[in-house]
Homo-oligomer: 272 residues x 2
């Protein structure tokens, strides 16, 4: 995977970059400001892969990614799970810290930690960007909450590690590309479909998956504001679209939907 | 509703504050830094009501609110829908704008607008906070994207209105309090429950609602990281827990769940 261009949203040291590096260890990693920028680069073919968070507690909105997935021709070709480990990062030999910069959700996740140490919270738009902020502005009385990589990238000191109040904090990322995936034994298929008049129609769709013994691993509804009685569903199932059972079940499901868009079939990521 | 204390997350002029004012026009509105602060104030009884976004495109994570709802004793007692109207805000008579500060999602929502005008995007953690930023730092070559209220609060000029690329952009807010609600003809009930082994168990729960002709208006699954084969569901239905059909159906549903927590029954908000 050497020399391939992989884009992510955020600054160097962002959790998205760590996820991308985990999956593409020898690639060229390209930070972009907005999720839309990442999708644009994908559509322009100026990058080979995009790595975006889909179920997350730090990086931003799942909804925004689903909106972007709805209008892309590219496919989900892999997924990555990343354990989120927050560090307290500052200038070296710093003993006078009174306040901490980070993304509001990272601050919230380390709330008990900050409270015990009587540290004031200062929200910013980004975890890694907070490290850059204190570095560039030479702020000596503040630390940032971000990843170990962010500390390394900006050559700052890690004062403390694993400072999040609750452990088991994972983020799920998707890899988007033009690649073709083949069925393995451990795949997942992601889709978006539209239904009229929940729950009757939802019930009949779930019944199809149930009859075929296909496991759902995610279901999420969202009202379409344009048509008050229509719903959009984001659904993940186990299996690959090229498997017969999946294919025939999706054919039945499609007949019950106002639309069905397969976002991709890909090997399931490992939580480790 | 005069003199009541209503807390929201964000700065003055935040969309959460606009939603709160729409519902509690004569209350004292208290801005708080984190969602957790809002819930803490609710638990300390230092406020009467909390207004928090639950399905949104601007204010932050739904997941975080659901986590907080899972551990609160307070109930959802109302909901508010708010149309999101973005404004371009700057110092008066400003003709030299080259860059625009705002929350990444607000920037993304106004992307075509900014592109056409060749304006550079600078992400911050908050829409209203961006207005404060350019005001306090006397930044003359930048504008902020935020609400009309934010412009008014910081006494800044609205250069342009409704600049979002796609209209029909609504955010749904919940009101949390100790109030008791009575059944009306147009209620919604929100709940969180746990299930083992989707989809068989999900199918059997949805069948209960289907049999009772109870409309689902939202369904969202989320894996519990601790137990790989258990799922948590966020579900909204039409009706009030004190109605016989709802009550008897929820009794049946509860028997199929690892746990069931009713978050509240409340009058459905109006989208206008």
């Amino acid at each position: 995977m050497s020399g391939q261009k992989v884009a992510f949203q955020g600054e160097h040291g962002a959790y998205s970059e760590i996820a991308a590096l985990k999956f593409f260890p020898n690639s060229e990693l390209i930070p972009m400001k907005l999720f839309q920028d990442v999708f644009d680069a994908l559509h322009n073919n100026s990058i080979d892969y995009a790595v975006v968070p889909i179920e997350n507690s730090i990086e931003g909105s799942v909804n925004e990614i689903y909106d972007l997935l709805l209008s892309t021709e590219k496919k989900i070709t892999a997924e990555i799970f990343l354990r989120v480990n927050h560090c307290l990062i500052a200038f070296p030999n710093n003993t006078s810290i009174t306040r901490v910069f980070s993304h509001p959700q990272a601050l919230a996740q380390c709330r008990n930690y900050l409270k015990k140490r009587n540290l004031d919270s200062l929200p910013t738009y980004d975890t890694a960007g907070s490290v850059r902020l204190i570095k560039e502005n030479q702020i000596l009385d503040a630390a940032a909450i971000a990843s170990k990589s962010a500390a390394k990238f900006y050559n700052m000191t890690i004062l403390d590690e694993n400072i999040e109040d609750r452990k088991n904090n994972y983020t799920r990322f998707l890899v988007l590309s033009d690649e073709k995936t083949s069925p393995s034994e451990k795949d997942r298929t992601s889709m978006i479909f539209g239904l009229k008049h929940m729950p009757g129609s939802l019930f009949s769709v779930i019944r199809e998956f149930d009859h075929s013994k296909i496991n759902l691993t995610k279901i999420e509804s969202r009202p379409t504001k344009e048509k008050p009685w229509e719903y959009i569903f984001y659904v993940d199932i186990e299996g690959h679209v090229e498997e017969d059972t999946v294919k025939s079940t999706l054919d039945k499901v499609q007949k019950k939907c106002t639309f069905l868009k397969i976002l991709g079939s890909y090997k399931r990521g490992i939580i480790n």
